[in-house]
Symmetry: C2
Subunit: 244 residues, 2 copies
């Protein structure tokens, strides 16, 4: 991991861009920390630059509110990383189906999401290896955000992740649905009740499927990007309960 | 309204029992209040004495956490109040159906819940009239708890109620389901995912039916009485957003 730039915000939060091999990432750490900070991995749909304003706001809210560090890495085939023809094709097929108002077949979801999960999960884990060598980071790890299928995989395979706040706003392959039953860490699942590109019943079934004894669903009105601001505070408190 | 007893707790909260005609009730007010406190009406399934430990804990949590006053009154045909043969019959029919594992017909729900709503809602409103004459109480009003059908009715007919935290844990007559569409105040709806005596799909449909633009569903694992403690804090924050 190599740091390539840094800036410090008014609230003391230090933002550092880094590369991990060819993968760009961003790390935010609290201004004042007496002990190594718990770390939240910030999931997102891909495109770090496009997502930057939202990720930065969320990271600083985590830092300022609870003293957590946060990090995000670019997803495979997104942002400045090399494209995948297969992924582009699957995405085009998805959009065609959605625009035509047709059901999205499992086959399209599998082609779109499974390779992403297979590639991204090991990258997040490698980033975690490196991030945990920094003296300012330590203690339990959380995962927050989408892509929910990546969050499911990480919750199952990465024992360093102690709690996850998952955004049920994207398609989940049947295979990951089955993996959800193996998740045992505490979960908070966010659902936008009128999410245009998300099947509400599928999200409720997924919530039901998770194996975790402590899982909470927060469903709010509105579309995909309409998550109310107060859920940022609710997320902080969820992680404060489980990462401190 | 006539106060019949009072005690002050270590945390400064003043608890006063009162009667409103033949209806017993309890009022909790914060120890130190510089201004009139917003009031939370604490809904419950009936039986003030049986419910006292939970109501008292919730009221003191509201007082200590947010400086809210809280009040509860006995439900019709519960606790020390005169019984209703019709209500007893309906309750017996409900239990027979549940024990036999049979579906609970609308007719039973109507007989059990509609008269309760028709009688209890005006009583709550009369209590509100009297409570609001006290100088230590003022500002916006919230309703918290079950019986959810009573909460729906009050949210529709009582304009002084500004926000409601409803516990989806009891049967809702079809007619009240329709009334739910007329509710426009902010709602937080609690659902216990594995509630023995509650139909999960009905609760989700009810959440969908509410007309409120701001409504949040908090679903947690466990049975009817297993609402996690952190939902007490979440409820306080919901009311803090809307009653302050």
């Amino acid at each position: 991991m190599r740091f390539t730039s840094e800036q410090r915000f008014d609230d003391g939060v230090l933002e550092r861009e880094f590369t991990l091999g060819e993968i760009p990432g961003i790390l935010w750490t609290p201004g004042s920390a007496s002990a190594p900070a718990p770390l939240i991995l910030l999931g997102h749909p891909g495109g770090l630059q496009k997502m930057y304003p939202r990720l930065m706001a969320r990271a600083r809210h985590c830092c300022a509110g609870e003293g957590f560090a946060s990090a995000a890495i670019e997803l495979p085939w997104s942002g400045d990383r090399p494209r995948s023809a297969a992924a582009e094709n699957a995405r085009a097929d998805l959009h065609r189906a959605l625009e035509a108002g047709e059901p999205v077949h499992d086959e399209i979801v599998d082609r779109l999401v499974l390779p992403l999960v297979e590639t991204a999960a090991p990258e997040w884990r490698a980033a975690l290896d490196d991030l945990l060598t920094l003296p300012e980071i330590g203690g339990p790890i959380g995962y927050a955000g989408g892509v929910i299928a990546i969050g499911i995989r990480l919750a199952v395979v990465e024992p360093r992740i102690s709690a996850a706040l998952l955004f049920a706003g994207s398609f989940v392959p049947r295979a990951l649905f089955e993996e959800a039953r193996q998740v045992t860490i505490p979960l908070q699942v966010l659902l936008q009740w009128d999410d245009e590109g998300n099947d509400r019943q599928m999200a409720l079934d997924l919530f039901d499927a998770f194996g975790s004894k402590e899982k909470t669903l927060h469903a709010n009105m509105g579309g995909h990007i309409g998550v109310p601001q107060f859920e940022g505070d609710a997320g902080n408190r969820f992680f404060a309960r489980h990462l401190k």
